[in-house]
């Protein structure tokens, strides 16, 4: 019963993050974007096996690709890899260290942005370097900051599953 409530709380949180990704991020409309989908993927992937984490990453990536006009499949591949890796690294992830959480989230978010950038073919265009080396780290840092705060707040509710 307790596990069911944990999953319900997790699903509500993930649903809220997904909605925030598609609702709050366009509403803010700023160049430094917070990737709420990565946060949702990390929240789920640390509770499941790496294979399930990869499938969840595939599904969230498909949702992200469906809403973006170009580079269909890039987010799917990037988030699949992120879901698998973070699920595999869940022993290290979600330690009692917010900085470490932030570093993992930063790396995941930047990796997703870079993979999407290059897999969609936009990484070789003019200005891609600025996007990859300036705006992508800034967006990843913003995502890490929001994620670290979120995880710190929700830590009592969102306990990672035992390996």
């Amino acid at each position: 019963m307790s596990g069911l409530y944990d999953w319900l709380r997790l699903m509500v949180t993930v649903f809220a993050l997904v909605i925030a990704h598609f609702l709050l991020r366009p509403l803010l409309g700023i160049r430094i974007e917070i990737d709420f989908l990565v946060l949702a993927l990390l929240l789920m992937s640390i509770r499941v096996r790496p294979g399930i984490g990869a499938v969840l990453g595939l599904l969230l990536g498909a949702a992200a690709d469906a809403a973006s006009p170009g580079g269909f499949g890039s987010a799917m591949l990037a988030m699949t890899l992120v879901g698998y890796v973070t699920s595999w690294l869940k022993a290290a992830f979600f330690a009692e260290n917010a900085v470490l959480d932030g570093v993992v989230i930063f790396a995941s978010a930047w990796g997703v942005i870079l993979m999407r950038l290059f897999l969609s073919g936009r990484g070789f265009e003019a200005g891609a370097a600025i996007s990859a080396l300036v705006w992508a780290p800034l967006s990843a840092a913003a995502t890490a900051l929001v994620g670290a705060l979120l995880f710190a707040v929700l830590r009592p509710l969102l306990k990672p599953a035992r390996a």
Partner: protein
Amino acid sequence: MARTSRTGTRTDLALLGVAVLLSIVALILPSTVRGTVQGSLRSSVAAPLVAAQAWAERGRQAIGDHGRLVNIVDSLSLAAQSTAPLRAENERLRALIGLGQRLQWGFVATEIVHPGRGADENTVLLAAGASAGVRPFSPVVVPDGLIGMVTSVDAGSSTAILWTNPDFRASATTTDGLAFGIVAAHLGIGADRYLLEMRGVPFRSELKPGTLIVSSGLGNVFPRGIPIGIVLRETKTVEGWARTYLLRPIVPPDATGEAIILLPPRAAVGVTTAWSSAAAADSSQKRITMAGDSMVADSLRLISMRTDALARLDSLRRAAIFGGDSGVRVESDSTTQPAGARASDSMRTRPPVASPPASVTPPQGSPVVAPSARTTAPVIRPPARRARPDSAQLIQPPARRARPDSASVIRPPSRRARPDSAARSLRTDSARARNRARPIKKAPPPAESPFRLPPAGASE
């Protein structure tokens, strides 16, 4: 335990491989197939997410548009505030150009420089001087009418007094020229300070409120016909031999920025055509009013004369019986059918109508003699006499003039029946009718006082 872990790892790897494979397939799909898959996802599973994203985009655009719209509204408000003066200036300049086209020659268009606060507000500076032909006593006009007079001139500018100046005087008259007077500033208190007064109007000349007052042309300063003001009311004066009327000025003292100075040659020739439309409108209104008054007066007079007319007819019958064909001519338009005759005369004020006579209704109060009564009236007419053009008013035998109901026939406009002389036609017809009746029975001379005003428009 280790087997389970290895199985789980293989499953995880298998799932990872499938997921990666699907992702790569999605990446390498042809663009058409990729678009189809993406579209199907967007319309099915991801539809709520896409809708939420679109709604958020619209919200962000609305937020951004709000500030832009506020800026646009502010800009439009500023533009609207500056449009009204521009429109007024355009209309003023357009009217000035129209006045210039009507004047055609002999004028100088200039700007009026109003003095600042504390200065003499009744004197203005004009940006045209002697080099442009301006001379002292040149009239300063605007499209609405007279505004002032040049008092001093130098090479490039001149000074003029406005009509608000206590020294301003202008000989004025009504548009019909019946009343003359001197127009000057009304030195009243408060709002009355900016009115005019027309002094020295003869006591017999009573002006109705709304009468247009124009310059009379007397004095050789202001040519005749420049509108000055409109009669508001009569003011009480100590003089008992003249009237003074309060006028509302045609031109506000501070509403002009440009004006026209009439040069002396142009003022000498006259400018009546430049403002003729306003004067004509006033005269037309006055004529219509007078025509209406004449119609009512004639109708009342006809009612009182009808009894006399019947008695006169009896005397005519007796004269015909006892005198035979003695050449006595009976023109019974004022006896047997006065109302019909005057009704047709009254219709001269209207354009000629070709409708059947039966549809014409005489004015109320005007008795119309029935055709049967007219046919029974004896006609005594020398055979050699020529039928008059307006013989519809005469009693004639039906064989000579086959117009059974000629009392109500509308005649075509003759040379006397000009539309703008309706009142004159009415009066002349009435006078003619009275004169026709006089050979039979002399009417007593009019017992009117010599000091009484002649009928309105009698001088025309």
